[in-house]
Symmetry: C2
Subunit: 247 residues, 2 copies
């Protein structure tokens, strides 16, 4: 299982933060890793301190350019490459459904990439629209991100339906932004653990350092390698790598 | 200006919380208010303690049923009606672009509603896809929601582009989940205030009570009427109502 999509129906749950930091952790463990941004917000490049994204994923999909010809190596992080996006990708939400076989157009771009990189991680937009569908279709497995929040917990079921439809196996659920400070968070966490027990992966705590790292344009393993959240991402990465091998 | 869309490109910024609590505050001030959920997550009904949504917005759009024939009055909140959604609405993201004049299909459903209700508020999905576009198209004005978060601030520019394209006037930006605890939040708030000074509306503080009210299925003005966040929503509602009159 080498192509992983990071997904959630609910917005703002930490998908980008997980995609970027998980990819950097894979690279840290020596896995050649390709990070693909399938969200028109283009936040992955920002999180890596990259300001120019050319060609954008939109161009790649429209011109059917192969990933290998368009990737950008990430400075200071050996074993990590980026396929970034720009706002123009939003156009695909409207244009794709009118194309033939639109569902597989991202998979086509990534077709040869599976042999070039050990791991591919795809960050997705929130919601269950066209871009999400294309990303689920291109992946061998899905990591679902969920904070201790009632509405986010409630939306897990929606994503499960989408994963069944796109035949994307679910590798697990990553509890993120974990804090047990409020009763709301503790109760939401219990709901997730009680209802999805077998799918729970190592969690990521709620830490301002992750927001600061994002602004600094660095993964947490570079920004604050000794922080508990950096170690949390390394533990998560180890677990995900072992699950990826078994499929 | 009687039809307002609550929007943001970034996910999880508080759109649903604002849409629900603003609508309840309008109703509190005696305005006949219709709350429309254009997000397949269907969280608006949940926030109002409503468990059955029938017919869903998806059915209304597909069968071109008028809003007036499908609305549900909200128990315990006179002057507030709901047009809810279900997960089936996600289908529209794929099907709509193949329909003729798909952009105006939500506007058509709401056509007569403008004379029946004083205020209409539309909650939207995150992102800038098909459903977002239909909602922007159906509105006379947009309220943009933004927390003190760097990526959310960065995505404001994306939404501005979309608002220009759909010719939806921006009524203002609501800073929400406002907290000045972390340096990240203080700096993001400064960025928003420095770059969008004239658009800033009364803000909503970060309060766990708003999450608890959501789980309890009540707007904050019913759940904790004397809380500072309930009063913040009433102040915001007053300001939005005065701006709506002037257009
Ligand atoms: N574990 C965490 N602790 C603290 N802050 C976090 C954590 N994870 C993410 N954040 C912050 O929360 C905000 C939202 O996270 P992020 O952008 O990664 O979510 P997302 O699911 O990708 O959002 P979207 O739906 O817009 O794509 C960002 O400011 C991010 O820095
Ligand atoms: N001012 C606030 N203080 C504390 N919690 C808040 C506040 N506003 C929203 N929340 C909580 O934050 C979470 C996200 O809010 P909400 O669902 O309203 O955002 P959204 O923009 O509608 O998300 P989505 O992009 O998924 O539609 C919810 O659990 C909500 O209860
Ligand atoms: Mg993201
Ligand atoms: Mg919402």
């Amino acid at each position: 299982m080498s192509t992983i999509v990071v997904a959630a129906h609910k917005g703002g749950v930490g998908k980008t933060t997980v995609a970027v930091n998980l990819a950097a952790s894979f690279a840290h463990y020596g896995k050649r890793t390709l990070l693909v941004d399938a969200d028109p917000q283009g936040a992955v490049a920002t999180a890596l301190g990259i300001t120019v994204v050319k060609p954008s994923l939109y161009e790649l999909i429209n011109k059917q350019i192969k990933a290998n010809d368009a990737v950008v190596p990430v400075d200071n992080i050996s074993e990590l490459w980026l396929l970034g996006s720009e706002l123009d990708l939003a156009g695909l939400e409207i244009e794709a459904p009118r194309m033939t076989l639109w569902q597989t157009k991202l998979a086509d771009v990534l077709h040869d990439a599976e042999t070039t990189w050990d791991m591919i991680i795809i960050d997705t937009p929130p919601g269950l629209g066209v871009l999400s569908t294309m990303a689920l279709n291109a992946a061998d497995g899905a990591l679902v991100v969920c904070p201790p929040d009632y509405l986010a917990y409630r939306s897990l079921a929606h994503l499960q339906e989408a994963l069944v439809l796109s035949k994307t196996p679910i590798m697990g659920i990553i509890p993120t932004m974990v804090s047990t400070q409020s009763r709301h968070a503790r109760e939401a966490l219990e709901l997730i653990e009680d209802n999805y027990r077998d799918l729970i992966l190592p969690s990521i705590p709620k830490r301002v350092a992750l927001q600061d790292a994002m602004v600094a344009g660095m993964p947490i393993v570079n920004y604050q390698p000794n922080s508990d959240c950096a170690k949390a991402f390394l533990s998560l990465a180890k677990e995900v790598l072992s699950r990826a091998k078994t499929v």
